[in-house]
């Protein structure tokens, strides 16, 4: 893309903006030189698209081209992606509120909990949530998983986590199997859930109170097969 391509670039962009295409992916595969006027055009175009709440990103850069562009400071302006598919995934995340989902079936052994809570907390962090939110999510998962293990059927020896994350919130369901919980016992569990009482002398029993404070929404469902805790945690920043 030398100086002669500037006019063609400018025209192409003008047409796209007129047609209402505000999200542009520039595929630079096979391009080994971009002149600084051409970079200038790309920057100008990106600015116009951002004003229209769109964006312009670059894909398919060779290592060599990437180095050259970085020398011109382009890496501070443009996002580089490896391929178009990654751009689209990111776009859907940002603009279509597409949630990332994960389901886990975990052995009911407390020894697995640290790895699980760190896994989900790093997913949250990697998706751009701040450290404080990631830490709170880690705490919520830890407490609910430990409760699920402690109060689940001992014969079953596993519990389930459904995890869903979009740009604005994390939704979490932790389910264990508690067959044979009769209705009066279920009522008791529900009451304890609604009003967790903390005994100052006890080492345990503070988890649910903590989850309650850290969650935006918290709900308990008991059916014939098991107990499910639903949590919504809204992103803070």
């Amino acid at each position: 893309m030398d100086i002669s391509s500037v006019e063609l670039l400018t025209q192409t962009f003008d047409n796209m903006v007129v047609q209402g295409s505000y999200f542009v992916i520039i595929d630079l595969e096979g391009v080994d030189f971009v002149s600084s006027p051409a970079v200038g055009v790309l920057m100008g175009c990106r600015r116009r698209l951002i004003e229209k709440k769109g964006n312009l990103v670059l894909v398919g850069l060779s290592l060599h081209l990437r180095e050259k562009l970085n020398l011109m400071g382009a890496n501070r302006i443009f996002r580089y992606y490896n391929d178009v598919k990654t751009v689209l995934t990111d776009y859907r995340w940002e603009h279509d509120q597409m949630a990332q989902k994960m389901s886990l079936q975990v052995p009911a052994n407390p020894g697995y909990v640290p790895a699980i809570r760190r896994l989900l907390s790093s997913v949250v962090l990697q998706k751009g949530y701040n450290r404080k939110d990631a830490f709170r999510i880690e705490t919520i998962i830890d407490e609910l998983a430990n409760n699920a293990i402690e109060h689940g059927d001992h014969a079953e020896r596993k519990f389930y986590i459904d995890f869903s994350l979009d740009r604005d919130k994390v939704e979490l369901q932790v389910r264990n199997l508690t067959r044979g919980l009769d209705s009066s016992l279920a009522q008791q569990v529900k009451q304890k859930f609604e009003n967790p009482v903390v005994d100052d002398d006890s080492i345990r029993g503070r988890g649910l109170a903590l989850v309650k404070m850290l969650s935006s929404e918290l709900r308990l469902d008991i059916d014939a097969q098991g107990t499910t805790v639903h949590v919504t945690k809204v992103r803070e920043d």
């Binding site: 020894g111 830890d142 345990r204 503070r206």
Partner: protein
């Protein structure tokens, strides 16, 4: 599956044979509260009556971990010993605060302040 998640290092304090600094490194959670309690209990005694828990490397604490800290603190008070905590990170402090444990635990900004508070 045995996984400790935490390392406790006991350090002596110059000029104070009755005091130890215990550095907590890692995560204090349901997998290691018992071993942590055993370790702390083994530090008290034989003339050691003060423990300062250095939390600068404590990344994480859960409700059971806090339960054990409250238990240690209470036992210390009953025996007229000291259990003081210093250098708590923001995330851990938030958990302590939500549980309401900040009024029950002796917490200091740094080790020096905790040491100076000993008689």
């Amino acid at each position: 599956m045995e996984s400790k998640q935490i390392k406790l290092e006991v350090k002596t304090v110059e000029g104070r044979a009755d005091t130890r600094i215990v550095e907590f490194d890692g995560d204090l959670d349901s997998t290691n509260v018992e071993s942590t309690l055993d370790k702390i209990n083994s530090v008290y005694g034989e003339g050691v009556v003060n423990i300062i828990a250095d939390f600068s490397k404590l990344r994480y604490v859960n409700s059971t971990g806090l339960g054990i800290l409250l238990h240690i603190s209470k036992t210390a008070k009953t025996n007229k010993w000291n259990f003081k905590i210093a250098k708590v990170n923001d995330n851990v402090f938030e958990i302590i605060e939500i549980i309401g444990a900040h009024t029950l635990l002796d917490i200091y900004d740094d080790i020096g302040d905790a040491l100076n508070s000993l008689n």
